[in-house]
Amino acid sequence: MADSGQIISALKGGATEIMQYFVNFSGEFSEIEKVIIYVFAPAVGIMISAWGIVDFLKLKKSGGQGASPASIITRFVVGPITIQLSAFVRALSESIFGEREFQEAETLAASYATNAQNAADPVQAGLSAMVAFMVIVGWVAALRGMIAFARMGSPQENGYELFSTGAARLIAATFLCMFQFVADDLIASVGGGAKQFSSALGL
């Protein structure tokens, strides 16, 4: 007859096997993160800057229809910031959460994926894989926020609505990318202990 220790170790073994699927999937996030930060964001940033130049040409040619000095300036500012999306999100996170120790913003999901692969505890592995997924969602949200900001200056668009949409997406993106610190601070607010979630992740 099996004792409780054997049952628990069997359950733990089963959970580890299931968790391996999530851990394998989280390994994909490091590559996806690289492509978003090093390819999609710079491509979108260059296109936003080019859009600003097209607006500059349209300003005189068509009597300013579809373009305004505000739209040109907005796109000339938002384009380069989009190229440096990871640095911008890191700066925003430092504004919100203060300066904390974490991996480079460019390899944030990759660091959690590596942590998931190295974790001995299935709970640690699962949590790390989940946070890696949230980071990817955060990068996509940040990119969408920058696109909303780029459209902000157009005369035919509702500038205030696009600004609020972009700002909301950007703040949500910062919270998703830095979910480790959000969870740490929420747990500290309720429970009182510092870095509880980080220690649950094994960090």
Binding site: K34, P42, S49, A50, I53, F56, L57, G79, I81, Q84
Partner: protein
């Protein structure tokens, strides 16, 4: 024998089943492709497209600047005021200088060319 509802013969159905079966059996051994590979491949395409677009933008800039300069010369010759010509010249030059302009703006805003460099992206061929 043909199924009246779907109008598909037994041979076609059997062929499709064999094709699906072979794909399922041989696919994992031959493809080894993951979702991240799709993103990687799409990234390579995006870099290639961005390079071509920057080139087209530069070429359009040369044409615009040329039209602007020639228009300005004719306007001066005919003693007419210049209208769109200065915009074409400035806009054309900006089109040609898209990448250096973006890099300069990046450095002006961020204080340093930290993070992603525009030129690195265009030279990367999608590999990081």
């Amino acid at each position: 024998m043909v199924d009246k509802k779907t109008n598909v013969g037994f041979k076609s159905k059997f062929g499709a089943m064999v094709a699906i079966g072979l794909t399922l059996v041989l696919g994992p051994a031959t493809a080894h492709a993951k979702i991240s590979d799709w993103f990687g491949n799409a990234g390579e395409e995006v870099v290639a497209i961005a390079n071509v677009l920057v080139l087209i933008f530069g070429a359009a800039g040369v044409v615009l600047t040329g039209i602007g300069v020639i228009g300005a010369i004719f306007a001066k010759k005919n003693k007419q005021p210049m209208e769109h010509q200065p915009w074409f010249i400035i806009g054309g030059v900006l089109c040609i200088l898209l990448v250096p302009l973006t890099m300069a703006l990046s450095e002006s805003i961020a204080g340093d060319d930290q993070g992603m460099n525009t030129q690195d992206f265009l030279n990367s061929k999608g590999e990081f």
